[in-house]
Every structure is written in C-alpha cells, then in structure tokens.
Amino acid sequence: MLTVHEHLVKNVHLGAENSLRDGLLTIAPEEIRALATHPLIRSVELHIVRPGESIRIIRVLDAIQPRAKGGDGAVFPGFLGPARVAGAGDTHILSGCALLTVSPLPRAQEALIDMAGPGANLSPLARENLLILEFTPVEGAPWGEYEAALRLAALRVAAHLGGIARSAPPGRRLRVPPASSAIGLPRVGYIYNIQAQGSFKDTFVYGRSARDILPTLITAGELLDGAVVSGNYGHPSLKNSTYAHLTNPVVKELLSRDGDDLAFAGIILKPEPVTLEGKELVAEYAAKLASQLNWQGAIVTKEGGGNADTDLFLAAEKCERRGVRTVLLMAELAGPDGRTPPLLGSQPEADSLVSVGNYEEPVSLPSVERVIGGDSLRLADGPVAGPLTIPTAPIFGALSPVGIGSLRARAQ
C-alpha cells in the first residue's frame, strides 16, 4: 500500500530558506544549483514562471512533478536510489507545480509552452507554477552523456523539492492499493505503451531502458514513485513526459473508480519496438497477460506518432481476439485543414477510439513579453517572442496520448 500526501502549491518563489506554507513554496536557489552541478553542465539558470505570465518557454525537454518519500527509500528508483521495487510507504507530492528542463539538444524536437493566451489553454504545463532549469552544456560535451547528466540533475531537484513538503502541514491523503479488492465489477486494466527506441527516444523503468523488455505488470504506486522516467525528446505533444507518467490521468481515473463501477485490474507496461516482429510479439504478450489476469477490458494508450499507431492497433487486435475489449486514446492526423482522413491505418478490432485532438491543426499564438530557452525557433521564422502560427504538435503535452491535454477533435 502506498500513501500519497498531496500538497497543493499555489505560488512559488526563490528565497533564503526552503519552506512550504499556505501553498507558498519557497526555494533556496543555491541548493538547486549544487544539485545540478556536473562536469558536462556549464551552467544552469533558474527561472520561476507562473500561470498567466506573458512568457514563452522553448526547447522544453521534460517536465517532472516534484515528490519525495516520507521515510526510507527513494523516488525515481534506479536513478536516485537502488533499483528496488517501489510503490509502498509514504510519498509526498507537490501538485500545482512542476519542474521543467530546458536545453538545446540535437534530435530534440521543438517544444514550446506559452504561459498566457490561447497557447496556455493547450499545454497542461501552463497551468502549473514552474521552476525552470535552463541548462547549457560545456563545449564539446558528448550529447548522450550531457543528456543523462541533466536528466539525473532534474530528478535530484524534483526529489529535493518534494522533500520540502515533509515538514509542511499534512496534505490531502490518498491510499493507493497494489491491487483491487473490488468484486462483482467489470475487470478493467490499462495497457500502457511506452516508447523506448534508442537514445533521446528512450523511456526508463527502474533506471533501465525499456527497449528490450517484454510487457510487464506495474502498479499505480510504482508509477507514482517514479519507477518510469522519460528520456524521450521526440514529438513534444505526443510523448509521455515524466510528468505524464507521474500524473497519468488514465491511472488516476481507474484508481478513483475502483470499487465504484469497475475493478482496476492492473497496468501492463508495454514497449513499442522498432520492428514489426517485435511489435507483434509485445502486443500478443500484453494480450496474453490481460487474459491471464481475466481482464474484461483495457484502455490502451501510445507514445509518439506513426509507428506507435501500429502498436495501438495491434494491441486492440490481439486483445479483442482474446475477448478483452479495448478502447484506444488516439491523436488524429487530419491535416492542417482537418480534411485528411484522421487515421493512418485501420484494424477492424480497433473500433473504439477516443480523440485527443488533431496533431496538425494550426494555432496562432500572440506575441509575448519574454522568452525562456533561446532566441530562435527552428519551426518558424521571425522573432521568437513575436506572434507565431504553428501546428498544435510542438506545444508540450497538447495532444498527450495519456490525456493530460484538454483537446479533442470533432467533425464540423
């Protein structure tokens, strides 16, 4: 059993001493800088950004919701502590705020967050009080090692911030059982596709790349303790950031309805291999686990675009053929004008789709007062603070496959 203590942060500022009082999180910057020190990191700049401020953040790599264990053990096991099974004891979570990493990185797709205006309605991170770590590498730093260094630094800072809540007044408590005790209700599970396809497109489970794993069972508690960490810098709106893994709305919904109108029958973590043979195997294996566990139905989500759709369709095919009903969360590729058929392919069994929006619909963002993360955009000419018209795709989390965004597409 995991007990979560959720502390709502309403405002963040930098100050002399760490504290959390009445929703005001005070952060001592020197300790943050010390945690982010690494021979390959030349500098780290701290920014505090609040919802509604006229600020555009570019080159966003990842977002993390801060958290820390109440007693022994570590969050983000395999990174901050030994790789031991997590999901038990007490965990303090700071909601209403997030840590953001920002840096140039080759092969990272342009990712952007506007904190005000129409763009703010599209990124779930624009609703959070943000501590931004803006990293600069030392010259000639090998990119792979630099990325690992800044990822580890960010996890350390996230755990450090979470630790501030330990001495704060008790927050909202939520008990997360490792398994459902509900009986006589439909057994519903979650097939959670994660993209682990090599460097900069990786996802880590207990600190290890999930590239070659077979689908495996994981609990909601393990996810909440940070057993799954993102190292994926493709598709800013279609990837599962660490924040998305930590706040996964599908997991939350199934947890909250467990014993009410369903029995939350488990989570199958499933990679998205790069070969069709691999995709067939993991889809079949996940379907086997689901039927082995007597699931009646499964929500299936993906990560990434294109080939990841195949993973969704295959999971639906294999599950439905074993009698496990499926619903898929799907971003649409309906073209800039919304006129292209929204799916890349089809599978007769994949007949129940929930839309998280059209990837390519253009959005017009007005100019902003300040930009964090750089002075140029790869995806648009002109001043980076100026008005922009871009597809929805680069907006961080806007079309989240696990549903942290707020969009859907509709026929007009």
Binding site: N121, P186, V188, P249, V250, K252, E253, L254, R257, D261, L262, Q296, G297, A298, I299, R325, T326, V327, L329, M330, E332, A334, D337, G338, R339, P341, P342, L343, G345, S346, P348, A350, D351, S352, L353, V354, S355, V356, G357, N358, E361, T392, V402, G403, G405, S406, L407, R408, A409, R410, A411, Q412
Partner: protein, 346 residues
C-alpha cells in the same frame, strides 16, 4: 436584416423543363418559386433579396464558368447568406446546388447551405467542405426541407458554432480541435464500460471505411482462362463517344478490342482529369496492356482475351458509384465465362 440570396434551377423558377436546361446564370430580384416559401418562413428575420437561376445542363457542362458568372452576380448583391435548392434527388440540380454552396463559402466567404438528398451525387460537395442539409428525394418533401435549410443558414450567418451531430448537416470531412467537456481518460473509461456491458457507444474518430475484399482464389490454369482488361484510367476511343466524365464519373463503358493487336495512339485517348495524360496518350498500352496481353495470348500463356475492355474514370468517383460499376462489370464477366481480370489503375 439578413440579406439572403436563393439559388434554384430553371424548373423551380417556372421557366421550363429540359428544353430550358441550357439557360445561362441569371438573377431576379426577390424570391421566386420555393423562395416565396422561404420568405414566409423568415418571419421578419431576413429577406430573400434575390434569386439566382441557372439551367441544369448549362451548369453541369460548364460548372467553373457557371460558378464564375454566379460569383459575379453575387458580388453586387451583398448577400449575408446563400441558400441553394432543395435539389431533392435531381442529379444535375444537386450538383449545381452543392457547387454553388461550396463556391460561396470557400471562394466568396459567404455562409451558404444547400439542401440535397443524401444519395444525390451532388451531396458529395459536403466532403469538399460545403454545408449540405439532407432532404427528401422529391419535391413532395419541400415543406420539410426548407425549414432545415433555413435554420442552418441562419445559424451560420449569425456566426454560431455548428456541428453535424447537432445541426443535422452531412459530415463535411473536416475535423476541428475543441476543448473537451470531459477528460479523455474519463471518456475512455465510460466508453470501455459501455462496450463491456454491450451498451451502444460511438467512437470519437470515424473509422476509415476501407472495403476489404478477399482476393479470389488463383485461377488453376491460366492457359485455359479467358482474361478481361478493366481500367479506371479513362482510356476511351478518340472523341469519348459515351462522354465519360473526366472526374466523378457517373458511368463506365465497354469497347470492343476484337481483332485489335494493340491500342493505337490517336485512336484511343485518356479523358482522366486526375493526371497528365501526355505519356499515356503517346502509347495507350501504358494504361491498358493490350499489346502484352495479345502476345501472351499468342504464346498460349492465356486461352484468350475477352472481346471487350471496360473503362471508367476513377478520379473523384465515389466508392458507392464504383461499387455499382463493379457489380455490373463482374456480372457480365460471369455471364461471358471470364475467369480473371487485369485491372489497371492510375
């Protein structure tokens, strides 16, 4: 006061039937024919300021020119809203109404709606972006058709948000991002529980309607088979005797190849509007491999070629139409003992 311009054909304008179907676009002030009923339905909310009239054949034979002339007429009318039809099941009239509604909306940026029976090929303008409200198949349903035509028109002219689910118009094949009322996870769990319980639910993304046809088993002995040639490449005898349309074909044709060793340039040509036909016309066998098929026939690799080839234009042709063509073609093949066909597509 909403300024409405109404589009109708020569018949509904009371000018005549087929003998007047070649009338050029024209304008009359105020409502004409069904427009009078529209005017009475408006009850002070607007005025049918003018009626545009065009002969069905004239429009069908030169749709672009017709649209251009109608656009010129509209330019001076300062319309807030264009309504077209109802065209019911009338093919050419439906086509004209659909095109006028599409042109007004997309080119003149004036809200426009047409009422067309959903099986009328003209209703395909919906997937090109026009607002089409479905109506009955004959003028007997005029009284039901006009209020729904007007209701959507008034909503569009007022700038209100509309959707096919709420407002009953044919899906325009356009998807727009909106803020969802409920989180995706909640909708997904609701949908899944409905699916498990066997309750009705609707997928939020339309499934592609790919028709999966299981391939016929291979013919056992091609040396004994009669083979037919079929194409959607628009290859027809010079002059296009059956007037197959260059896009959205309404029919197919079959032509004799009895005694022909190959297609001769100049005697056969493509009328397909979807690709550059220069290279195809330079050697029509590139579209339908009659030359090679004859060689196979001579060499005894196939028993014989069927005496006719079947042709149409696939460019923009609806799946519904194509299926109807296929049924007719296949049944002739069966009657004539054809065992296999080579279908070339462009």
């Amino acid at each position: 006061m909403l300024r409405i311009v109404h589009y109708i054909n020569q018949f509904f304008a009371g000018l005549g039937g087929e003998e007047k179907a070649d009338l050029k676009p024209d304008v009359r002030s105020g409502p004409v024919g069904p427009g009078r009923l529209l005017q009475s339905l408006l009850q002070g909310k607007g005025e049918v300021v003018a009626t545009l009239i065009c002969g069905d054949t004239y429009f069908a034979e030169q749709p672009e020119e017709s649209c251009r002339r109608l656009a010129d007429l509209l330019f001076t009318l300062k319309a807030d809203l264009i309504l077209a039809g109802p065209a019911f099941a009338s093919g050419r009239y439906g086509f004209a109404c659909g095109e006028v509604a599409r042109m007004a909306l997309q080119e003149l940026k004036i809200p426009a709606v047409a009422a067309i029976h959903h099986e009328n090929p003209g209703a395909q303008a919906a997937t090109a972006g026009a607002y089409i409200v479905p109506c009955g198949s004959s003028a007997a349903s005029m009284k039901e058709a006009l209020p729904s035509l007007l209701a959507l028109g008034i909503k569009l002219a007022g700038g209100s948000a509309v959707s096919p689910d709420v407002d009953g118009y044919l899906p325009r094949g356009i998807r727009k991002n909106v803020t969802a009322e409920l989180p995706a996870a909640v909708r997904a769990v609701n949908m899944l529980l409905a699916k498990i319980a066997g309750h009705p639910f609707t997928s939020e993304i339309p499934l592609p309607q790919f028709d999966r046809v299981p391939p016929a088993p291979p013919i056992p002995h091609s040396r004994e088979a009669t083979i037919a040639l079929v194409t959607e490449s628009g290859l027809v005898p010079a002059g296009n005797p059956d007037r197959i349309e260059s896009s959205r074909a309404s029919h197919f044709a079959r032509y004799s190849i009895d005694g022909l060793q190959a297609f001769t340039p100049g005697k056969f040509e493509s009328v397909h509007g979807g690709y550059s036909t220069d290279l195809a016309n330079a050697d029509p066998n590139r579209l339908v491999p009659l030359d090679v098929a004859r060689r196979l026939e001579k060499a005894g690799r196939i028993a014989r070629l069927y005496d006719y080839y079947f042709t149409t234009v696939g460019n923009g042709t609806s799946v519904q139409k194509a299926q109807a063509f296929a049924r007719e073609i296949a049944s002739e093949m069966r009657r004539s003992g054809v065992q296999a066909a080579i279908l070339t597509a462009t």
